[in-house]
Symmetry: C2
Subunit: 344 residues, 2 copies
DNA sequence: TCGGCCGCCGTAAACGTTTACGGAACTATG
DNA sequence: CATAGTTCCGTAAACGTTTACGGCGGCCGA
């Protein structure tokens, strides 16, 4: 005699009642519910998840899919860990188990997702590293699996998304640099088809146009989002005969490599070139200090979780007015790296 | 009609035979097995994991428990991501699904593990961030859940473990620095009761003793394993009136903060103080270059996975001679940071 | 020819839940 | 007092697998 049956026998009531009591169904006497809860605690009973899943067709698991390997996600810093932390706190309230699904950099993300879904692994998913055209969206939509994405995409199946404000960062940065007299401004972007690259570069071009300037294609540097990528960008930039006087670094990690590349050539951020990037725990230890954008990663995670729950029928009533699509605002922290300005 | 039943009906054979065919049981005609597999592929049948779990009492999931928050794991670099990648490749061969269980820094790891286990989440676990005395070991052993740890502990329940060679690193470093004439050598250790700290510090003291030196308690710095921790260590060190001439940094991430702290005071690694640390993708962008230890994180992950599988009855025959307990060797990469030497 | 063995397959029970359904006891209402 | 409604509970089916068991036919050896 095991599980719920044992508990029922111990209380000398039926398993049906026990189940109803535990699941908070209304049609059970509050007195018996109390007894059941008490006995459950005493005997250390916890419902078997397999039995539950089989019956309900639900797993109680939410998966957060990320890519391992700094090549894609730029996890040289702890960006995703912080976001995950925020997501976790929300799901814990609903007794949902959050797990990280780390797709190896050697495996195709689409294949990986297919495996996860085929297995019926999760009730809902959070996707990151969204591509400009992302097949995963349609795949999930077709199977009616609730999901939310960290990042926009041209593919749109109506799912909720949250995203960083790449356009805002581009606009603010360009305005700021142009005001300091810069005319040749470089921009970095991820090396692959990840969507944020397009958003960032396109908006940079647009902002420049507003000032009557154009974005020189030679000044758009593709780089892997890690330290090595930043170092490589510096080398390319230094090799040019008509160097830019300022640069926008799209992600958190490359600044470190970029600084290193500059200093090897005897150049100093903020004196010889203006830099605007993104803040991270690591970037605080750069010198001269980095001018860059920042946001609350944890709050972003919380919003992600709420957006997902809002689309899941069983939980949506908890979040009647969750923000389903939002560009997350960023603050600019002023440092020394963009102090360099040109005479008017 | 769904699942295996549908498949059986389509082939006009019994579900028992279908199941046996799919699971590679010997008592099924090879010809019918072929047909079953063919039909399964055609109809896109994949077995329902809940049904399977319920019947077999097994989940097909392996969990890799890590802590989020740089405070504990020092994930300012991608150490765990790389290890995870290695683990993943092994489990993929056995159709086991590996997920990352990220315990929030705000939650007690013991509680977290209890939840995971109570839920019957995984068939096996990989634990990291092992404490000097780690209650998780006994907890898992009592429930007979196969697990392996990345890191030793004084708690020993006979499980396999792999670990970095902290003693070797301490010994090599001390020998090397003493040979360069250093007498006052500082050491860092994590701020909490994580076991590696004890191993590292104790062995450092022992190695010093072999040279007739002692480890000054004032020269043992506890620090959070992140950039901020390293920065803080530098500040403490600089405030001393009798400064050490050399220092051992126990983990990958703190070097960056430590460098920053030094440079703010006008000191230069390798010129004013000798530093030996650990290599990481980030540390390559330090200047002067860091003398430090390195290892293949991916291979370590592979070994971890094999050790775990070797203790799981269903898989042990695949790995008859897996290394169950091993201190993983590290290579010393010589840089400029320990160039500083003292007259004899 | 017959008994035994072997290869292959079908039947049905079991895993631990949840929940639709119906019924018993009780209460309220006229 | 009869009826309707309400509250609570027990029964049993269902979720999709795996696997013990038994049976049927064919083959082999005596």
């Amino acid at each position: 005699m095991t599980g719920i049956r044992r508990l029922a026998q111990h209380l000398d009531i039926s398993i049906g009642t026990v189940s109803r009591a535990l699941n908070g169904r209304p049609d059970v006497n509050e007195e018996t519910r109390r007894k059941v809860l008490e006995a459950a605690a005493e005997l250390g009973y916890v419902p078997n998840q397999s039995g539950r899943s089989l019956r309900q067709g639900t797993t109680n698991i939410i998966g957060f899919m990320m890519q391992t390997g700094t090549e894609i996600t730029g996890q040289g810093d702890t960006f995703f860990m912080s976001v995950f932390d925020g997501v976790q706190t929300v799901f814990a309230r609903h007794h949902l188990d959050l797990v990280a699904l780390l797709c190896s950099s050697e495996e195709d993300p689409d294949d990986y997702l297919r495996r996860v879904v085929a297995r019926g692994f999760a009730d809902g998913l959070i996707l990151s590293a969204t591509q400009r055209h992302d097949p995963r969206f349609e795949f999930l939509a077709k199977r009616k699996i609730p999901f939310v994405t960290l990042g926009r995409s041209l593919t749109d199946v109506g799912q909720p998304w949250l995203d960083l404000d790449f356009e805002g960062m581009a606009q603010t940065s360009i305005d700021r640099l142009v005001a300091k007299g810069h005319r040749r401004i470089a921009v970095t972007r991820p090396h692959d088809d990840i969507n944020l690259g397009h958003l960032f570069v396109d908006q940079s071009a647009k902002a420049l146009a507003e000032h009557g300037l154009t974005l020189d294609p030679d000044l758009v540097f593709s780089s892997k989002p890690n330290e090595a990528g930043g170092y490589h960008v510096a080398q390319q930039l230094l090799a040019m005969r008509n160097r830019p006087t300022a640069i926008l670094l799209v992600n958190e990690t490359i600044a470190i490599g970029f600084y290193r590349g500059l200093s090897e050539a005897g150049l100093k951020p903020g004196r010889d070139i203006a830099i605007i990037g993104r803040q991270s725990p690591q970037s605080h230890f750069l010198s001269p200090s980095l001018t860059g954008f920042t946001l609350s990663r944890r709050d972003l995670g919380i919003a992600l979780a709420e957006a997902l729950l809002a689309t899941m029928p069983a939980f949506s009533h908890f979040y009647p007015d969750a923000e389903l699509r939002k560009v997350w605002p960023e603050d600019l922290v002023e440092g020394e790296s963009d102090a360099f300005s040109l005479p008017a």
